[in-house]
């Protein structure tokens, strides 16, 4: 187990900064002192102007996985995987990719009685440890991950590592809570990605008639006479909630992705990677 180090390390992941990597990013006007090896002569031939090719700086990637293990993530229905299972699968897949590249992964997990603890992994040899650690995660942790994430953003050593934080949660809390979290992440220049997990019945509840709803976290009952009007109101409220979170995330430059548990996990991960919503 390693603590996240404070020194910047080279890696295989392209960063936002321009550097000596292999991935072409853009052209810029040549200025005196630039290396002539990076002058794009074909452009000079067409335009008669010297342009220098810029490449993304290849830097060491550090993935911070924050998995919401509250009780709401463990609700399972109709044989579909729970949101926590999907979050763990996605976290394992992303962690495997990062570790396979030799980069580091930090898992932010909490115990039932203790504050969140950061567990770091680096290198391919630690892949099985990461998977074993993820297998041990169970639902019922409450909001401790969110508290740990706030503390994580405030830590100075994490600012220097510029980690990529991935939050996997159902986000069933008031948008104001996440707005403050996103603001904190933006203030500390932490690249954050939010994978919003939702069950299909949360997006479009198939309920009808006299229903007693029981909160999975608090056990609170709520008796409702669910009809089309109620369902329509719920859908509108869910969409409003989703728009609020998405708007707060985009406002702070945070990527937000909605995934439903009835979608295949492989396709979901590949979709995240393919369209660059998660990693560039």
């Amino acid at each position: 187990m390693h603590r996240l180090g404070g020194a910047q390390e080279g890696g295989s992941a392209p960063g936002d900064r321009r550097g000596m990597g292999q991935e072409f990013v853009d052209h810029r006007r040549y200025v005196a002192g630039d290396d002539l090896r990076y002058v794009d002569w074909s452009v000079y031939g067409r335009l008669g102007e010297m342009q220098v090719k810029e490449f993304a700086a290849e830097e060491s990637m550090h993935l911070v996985l924050v998995i919401d293990r509250s009780a709401s993530m463990g609700v399972r229905r109709d044989g579909q995987p729970s949101k926590l299972e999907l979050a763990l699968d996605i976290g394992a897949a992303l962690g495997a990719l990062v570790l396979w590249r030799g980069d580091g992964v930090t898992l932010l997990v909490s115990d039932r009685d203790r504050a969140p603890e950061r567990i770091s992994f680096r290198g391919r040899s630690r892949l099985m440890e990461l998977i074993d650690q993820l297998d041990g995660v169970e639902a019922g942790g409450g909001d401790r991950e969110m508290l740990g994430l706030r503390e994580f953003f405030r830590r100075r050593e994490m600012r220097s590592t510029r980690p990529v934080t991935v939050l996997l949660s159902d986000l069933l809390r008031p948008p104001a809570d996440f707005d403050s979290l996103f603001t904190l992440a933006a203030r500390h220049s932490v690249r954050t990605h939010v994978i919003h997990l939702a069950a299909p019945e949360e997006v479009n509840p198939p309920l009808s008639g006299r229903i007693e709803l029981v909160d999975s976290e608090t056990g609170e009952p709520l008796v409702l006479e669910v009809d089309e009007t109620v369902r329509k109101t719920y859908r509108q409220r869910f969409q409003k909630h989703l728009d609020a979170i998405r708007g707060a995330a985009l406002k702070r430059g945070i990527a937000h992705v909605l995934l439903q548990t009835d979608e295949p996990m492989e396709e979901a991960v590949l979709s995240l990677l393919r369209d660059g919503r998660l990693f560039r």
Binding site: D170, L207, L213, V214, E217, V223, L224, V230, F238
Partner: protein
Amino acid sequence: MFCTVTFEQPGAWIWIVLVLPLFVFALYRRKTLRVQVSSLFLWKEESHSRRIRLGSRLSGWLSLLLQILVVVCFLAAWSGPRWGGAEKSGEQTPSRLVLVIDNSPSMGAREDPSGSRRLDRALKRARDWARWAREGRTVTVVTTSPEMRVRFREGETAREVRSGLMDITVSGLPGEDPLDVARWVQKMAGRTPTRVVVLSDRVASPNPAGSGLEWVEWEQLGQPVPNDGILTVRSVRNIRGPGGVLVLDLVCDGGRAREKTIVVREGRKIHYQETLNLVPGSEVIRHRVKMDDLGEGALEIVLDPEDALSADNRFQVKIPAPLPIPVVVVGGPQGKASALDAALFALGDRVDRKESVRLESDSPPSLSRQKRCLVVVQEGGTLGVREKGVTLCLDPDLLCQRLGVEKELVTSPRRSVRVQQEPLWSGWANLHDLIVRQHVNLTSWPGMNPIVSTQGGHPLVLAEKGPESLRVYLAFSLSQSNLAALAAFPLLLEGLLEQVATMNPDRAVQARSPEEIRLDPGGEVTTGLPVESPSHIGVDFEFDLRPLCIALAVFFLIAEWGLDLVRRGRRGKP
């Protein structure tokens, strides 16, 4: 519809058909599916979650309570609950007391050695009852005088009641039957707890169960008048034609001395009223009544209307003045048209032909028509009419024997005539058991010999000499508009028989009436058995609570639905 459930009324179990679907509906309607959701965050307003939670729980319990009440009320309605009843009547505290004071002429009789009249005793009792008027209870005084039909006074204090009693005097007319007034009071009182006290000198009628008079207290003032000293009219003459002087020959026969009241009236207009202190005897008392404005209408001479001879105390005689009666019909066997016509002709000039009963030959009249007719032809038994509580009986055998004729006048058109065996006469017939066989118009009665005629010379008893025997027909008049004249029928019969006896002094003629009087073998006429006044006076109100239970059940059902609608409306904005 709201009958009590008994084994004799299995139809009342139909209520269970209403309860069972409701019960099943209540069971299956409220089935709630329990679903675990990730969070109730999006299902309710966070700011109102606590209030909604509390309201939801309370409304749930309230809904359950209302449903239970609905079922309980329907079950209670099905069981047919009742409140009150005879056993609780004594515990009721009626808020109204109605004193029915009989101020008919008989109440002016002085039987008390002190000289006080019966009405004075009744008023004294009424003043005692007036003390009952206190603490919000009212006392109403109702009299039976015919001038006002009933006199109604109501006071909330004893002084007001006593002051109202001072105006009550003895009426000159028979008035309403206190029993009828009591029934009227009962009807007007409705469900208001009312105590009725009747102050009268009449014998209280038996109160059979279900008659509605069990709650009437009857205070009898004075002893029942024995059936002696019967005042009868021997003859009535109008010596000056219409208007002038009526000469009444009266006979007070047998019994004890007592006061007799004579009232001559035309409709409700009283021409003459006099109270005579007669001494029983067989001598004829000639009484002259001066009539100043005697018109063309029917005059009635009311003789002592309180005489116990009449069951309803309306003892009156209609003199053969111009009669607006509708019809006079004499029944008899078919083929006796001449005799019937003769009888009809007896009063033909006084009969309104337009109101006569038109009957085809051999066609029995309707019941209503029968009431308009009087038929006194019957086979082998007593001739009689029974109507309005009065039964007239005449022994044809005895009559024929006295008249020296053969008994051929009695012919029953129907075999269903009810004959009741009595010690002296063979029976009596009900008017409704007799039918009219024929009605024809005739201007003369050839071959008929009038035996008894009215004052105007019209025959009432006709004799027809047949090939082998002598047949006798009786013709009587009855007014459809005044059925009370039926009460005069026995007196008329008696007068007729008196005429016959006068014509045949060596033969006795006898008649008896009415039904309330039993004729013992010894010939002594007594009144019926004394009737005990109800010892337990209270208000016998019994309410059927089934409509109330049903109303409550419907109310709770509507309330529960309303509550459900409110909850639905709240859930429309989760």
